[in-house]
């Protein structure tokens, strides 16, 4: 963004060059190095402060644990980390009345990936690598769980350790992975797809990313201080009586909720305001619709999670009694607040996937999007309804039993907008030119998996059948079908589809097909039997099960290991294409897509477009004779078009 265009020379704009961009010696500007130093100093200060505040507290002395010290240590360490990364520079400059310039400079060094950068494309790549790393770490915990489940009694881990692993796996996947699509692809491609040269709030996108490593490390460090026994749902009062590891969960989840709020906020504001001229709401790509609604869900649901984590920390530190039934509190308070966030969260993990499916299908069927408006209605409808169904997690809890038919209705109603989205899928395939490329395989596989996830969800929405399934492996299998089978498959679809745009390099197609087929087969062979295991009476999160279920469990464990092998194929493919192989020339648009993101250079320049494009037709006008989606250069569009204000 050029800033020197309108302010006449000699007028002091009170501006200063932004310290985050431009060249400089690495130790003279904020970055990873100072982030780590800041975190260490912050941890020391926080721990000292917590000790000083609370060491005389009788409760703390009785516990032998100072939750104040742990919590403050984590929080101040995070602040120190962000300060060291440079996140606080801008707010402090604002306090001094300065207005930093954003001057994008072509800086193509590796170092920018380790800095608090204002380029949404760099943030997208940072997110991509980080999300893959978090996913693989969470996956390793899953393999540990399956290893323990090889036999019906404890044989490898002690019961408490097993719960730590289960909780860490669940929390890692459910909280870190919330941004697996909106983080990399949302940040990278939303501005490109709407014809914007930047995000609305570039510092917020960097903030949303740089919180995630802090949350990740805080969560993992929980293992070192005893882990947390409560699974990813963290039900009180179990969470209140747990040891210090619980503080790690609460702080990490709280941080991640802030990251979600900040990231979603930025996306929503960007889509509303930064669309290029001509990018009307009916021309908005379906992926952007998915991102918009996901961002909205994050912005509106995640604050409740922040509050819940904060409330539990209060119960554990200053001894409020919000969840203590003997002192006027109630464990139901957590269940309600948590699931009020938790159910939209489930759709935060589903809608981005639908967005990718809707985006990719027209490209690989060479047809206009089938039922574009129906799909949008589906996405928006799912997002809206998701706020009204949370009590179906509490069917058996003994709360508001009179409400159950209504919640049953709202829950089952979700299948109507979800049906819209499926309608679009099958409509797109009608008489199409279907190319089964690797991204398309992942889209179809994801849809097939999600279908099973969705149908099993109906069993959970119906109170009588939920009685059997609730809290069992059935539920666990159900949401793995929607999240792992749907969301992660769509994530891979997006990755195979867009990586050429992000890096200029294709992933290997043959390895990609091996990856897809092995993942699809072993995924199903892992999670289909788990429906049966759940229905036959095995609760979630236990390793003690009936001897008669051992054969099935062993089958599942072996399949799970094979999923791990499939992931290794992917990791090899990913590293080979991005890091090891030399750069190969790539067709600018390897899939023949009409999308706006493919009309700019590969990889895109720092400001995406030399001139903000003018959109003249929709993104999916295959076979309709429409010209390119946008006019990219100046001739013919010399003035600010009508309607821009």
């Amino acid at each position: 963004m050029a800033t020197d265009t309108t302010v006449a020379a000699g007028v002091d704009a009170g501006g200063i060059p932004d310290p985050h961009v431009g060249r400089g010696v690495w130790w003279r500007r904020p970055g990873l190095f100072y982030g780590v130093i800041g975190a260490v100093i912050g941890y020391a200060i926080g721990t000292w402060l917590g000790t000083w505040l609370a060491e005389d507290n009788q409760q703390v002395q009785g516990l032998g644990h100072n939750d104040f010290a742990v919590t403050l240590g984590y929080l101040v360490a995070t602040i120190g980390w962000l300060a060291g990364m440079g996140a606080l520079t801008y707010p402090l400059q604002k306090m001094a009345g300065l207005q930093p310039h954003v001057e994008h400079e072509e800086e193509r060094t590796l170092g920018r990936y380790f800095r608090y950068t204002l380029d949404h494309k760099v943030v997208g790549v940072q997110y991509l690598v980080a999300m893959i790393a978090y996913f693989l770490v969470g996956g390793l915990f899953a393999l540990a769980i399956r290893t323990e489940l090889l036999s019906p009694t404890a044989h490898l881990f002690q019961p408490g350790t097993y719960l730590e692993i289960v909780g860490t796996h669940g929390t890692m996947m459910m909280m870190m992975m919330t941004s697996a699509i909106i983080g990399p692809f949302g940040n990278y491609f939303v501005p490109l797809m709407i014809g914007a040269r930047r995000m609305a709030f570039p510092r917020l996108e960097a903030l949303s990313f740089w919180i995630t490593p802090a949350a990740f490390l805080v969560l993992l460090s929980g293992i070192l201080i005893g882990g947390f026994p409560s699974g990813w749902t963290g039900y009180a009062p179990l969470s209140v009586e747990a040891t210090q590891g619980m503080d790690a969960y609460l702080v990490a989840f709280g941080l991640m909720s802030i990251s979600m709020i900040v990231g979603g906020f930025n996306i929503v504001v960007t889509v509303i305001n930064h669309r290029a001229p001509g990018m009307t709401w009916t021309r908005l790509p379906l992926f952007v619709w998915g991102m918009l609604v996901t961002g909205m869900l994050m912005v509106l649901a995640a604050p409740v999670l922040t509050l819940s984590c904060y409330l539990t920390l209060l119960d554990r530190t200053v001894q409020t009694s919000l969840f203590n039934v003997q002192q006027g509190g109630s464990p139901y308070l957590w269940e309600n607040l948590f699931w009020f966030f938790g159910h939209p969260e489930v759709y935060i993990l589903a809608l981005p996937g639908f967005g990718i499916a809707g985006e990719l299908l027209p490209v690989f069927t060479r047809k206009p999007a089938f039922g574009y408006k129906t799909t949008v209605a589906g996405i928006v409808g799912v997002g809206l309804l998701s706020f009204f169904v949370w009590q179906h997690h509490l069917f058996d809890s003994g709360i508001n039993a009179d409400m159950r038919p209504m919640v049953m209705l709202t829950t089952e109603m979700i299948s109507i907008p979800t049906g819209f989205i499926f309608l679009a899928l099958i409509g797109n395939l009608w008489r199409a030119k279907i190319r089964l490329t690797v991204p398309m395989l992942f889209v179809i596989g994801g849809m097939l998996n999600f279908l099973i996830g969705g149908v099993s969800g109906v069993f959970l929405s119906d109170v009588p059948t939920d009685t059997v399934a609730h809290g069992s492996f059935f539920v666990m299998s159900h949401f793995h079908y929607t999240i792992m089978g749907g969301y992660i498959f769509f994530f891979f679809a997006g990755l195979y589809y867009w990586l050429p745009k992000m890096t200029g390099r294709m992933l290997d197609t043959r390895l990609g097909k091996v990856h897809f087929w092995s993942l699809f087969v072993f995924f199903n062979s892992t999670f289909l039997p788990l429906f049966a295991i759940g229905e036959l009476g095995m609760p979630r999160r236990v390793f003690e099960y009936a001897d008669s279920l051992q054969a099935l469990n062993v089958w599942v464990s072996i399949s799970a290991y094979l999923i791990g092998v499939s992931m290794l194929v992917f990791v090899y493919n990913f590293l080979k294409s991005t890091v090891i192989d030399d750069k190969r020339p790539l067709p600018e648009n390897p899939w023949g897509s009409r999308g706006l993101e493919w009309l700019t250079s590969t990889p895109p320049a720092a400001d995406n477009f030399v001139r903000v494009p003018t959109v003249v037709s929709g993104p999916y006008e295959y076979g309709t004779g429409a010209g390119p989606m946008a006019v990219m250069s100046s001739p013919g569009y010399p003035r600010v078009p009508e309607g821009v204000s």
């Binding site: 019961p159 719960l163 409560s230 749902t233 039900y235 009062p237 179990l238 009586e241 039934v325 003997q326 109630s330 464990p331 139901y332 047809k367 206009p368 039922g371 574009y372 058996d396 809890s397 003994g398 039993a401 159950r404 038919p405 049953m408 089952e412 109603m413 049906g419 819209f420 309608l423 099958i426 409509g427 395939l429 009608w430 008489r431 030119k433 279907i434 190319r435 089964l436 398309m440 097939l448 099973i452 149908v455 109906v458 069993f459 109170v463 009588p464 009685t467 059997v468 609730h470 809290g471 229905e535 009476g537 609760p539 979630r540 999160r541 236990v542 023949g592 006008e621 295959y622 076979g623």
Partner: protein, 335 residues
């Protein structure tokens, strides 16, 4: 897999031909699979037939599976058909790509789709609510004041004509209290066959969930809350009991096998329990819907512990221990 012959052939087919083919395949598969689901799979679906609630849940499971089957089949058949017939080589060069027909939607198809899904959803809602209603909560924990209750239910456990069993979860074991038998507490669950039983589920510490798998009962045990679940007509046999809500380290170890016995065997068993625990009875707190320990330190205040009245009429109890006070009036013995 560019089967040129096939693709030429499919070009000649009209939309109607394709629809007819897909519909035919789907219809055949549906006619084969739905009866299989209903008559072959259905009788084996959990939670079995050990009680009225379990039978109804099994029926519900069968209905849902029967409704889901055609939906799954349709999507599978459709996608399979589309991929088989309308596929072009994945590695077609970008320059040679041809576009498909520019279909943006189909009003009739879309309307039909929306109507069918909506009708199905509302039908399932009505069906589920009806099951919930006629089965008195269908075995689920229905809170402290359930809306749908079987005949004989009373808000006061001791006046209830049903057999009331208070299920007490604690880290990490279950105990059971029988208010109509003097509030005797046992560490195993035995209930009489053929009767309607009311489970009052509560917890002393964290959230547990009482899951009597083959009876079709699941109710969360919350501290300070009485969660009521009904089960009708249990049949003689073992009852698998597990904890279904994560409650800490030994959550998985809260597994137990209870028993449904004939009425006479149950009477003998409960009498035996009263004899076995007779000395303990005065130390138990008076029966209440839920245990609320005292606040300081989380223990009972001994001065407030009221010994429960032992409802005899059953085997001669040992001489009553000293501490006694205004005990609640004797409860009618369940017969």
């Amino acid at each position: 897999m560019a089967d040129t012959k096939a693709s030429e052939e499919s070009k000649e087919l009209t939309d109607r031909d394709h629809l007819r083919r897909i519909g035919l395949i789907w219809l055949v598969l549906t006619l084969v699979c739905v009866p299989l689901v209903i008559f072959v799979l259905g009788p084996h679906l959990p939670p079995g037939t050990d009680s009225e609630q379990a039978r109804n849940q099994q029926e519900d499971n069968t209905v849902l599976a029967a409704v889901a089957t055609p939906v799954l089949l349709f999507i599978w058949v459709y996608i399979g058909y589309a991929v088989k017939n309308w596929r072009i080589p994945a590695d077609t060069p970008v320059e040679e790509l041809q576009d498909g027909p520019p279909i943006r939607g189909h009003r009739g198809f879309q309307t039909a789709w929306i109507v069918i899904t909506s009708v199905t959803v509302f039908a399932l809602f009505v069906f589920g609510t009806q099951e919930l209603w006629t089965d008195y909560g269908s075995g689920t924990g229905s809170g402290s004041s359930p809306v749908w209750t079987p005949a004989g239910y009373s808000t006061n456990a001791k006046d209830s004509k049903l057999l009331v069993v208070q299920v007490i979860g604690q880290q990490w074991r279950w105990t059971y209290r029988f208010p109509q038998y003097g509030g005797v507490e046992t560490d195993t669950l035995v209930i009489p066959a053929g009767k309607t039983v009311q489970f009052d589920v509560t917890s002393l510490d964290v959230i547990h969930s009482f899951w009597a798998i083959n009876l079709g009962v699941k109710a969360d045990a919350n501290p300070g809350n009485n969660n009521i679940a009904f089960v009708e007509d249990p049949s003689v046999g073992p009852v698998d009991i597990r904890c279904a809500e994560l409650c800490g380290t030994y959550h998985g170890a809260m597994a137990q096998t209870g028993q449904v016995e004939k009425q006479a065997d149950f009477d003998a068993w409960i009498a035996g329990q009263i004899v076995l625990h007779y000395d303990l009875l005065p130390q138990l707190p008076a029966y209440a819907d839920f245990y609320i320990p005292q606040t300081d330190g989380g223990y009972y205040d001994p001065s407030q512990v009221t010994p429960p009245a032992v409802d005899s009429g059953l085997p001669p109890p040992p001489p009553a221990p000293a501490p006694s006070s205004a005990a609640p009036s004797p409860a009618p013995s369940s017969s």
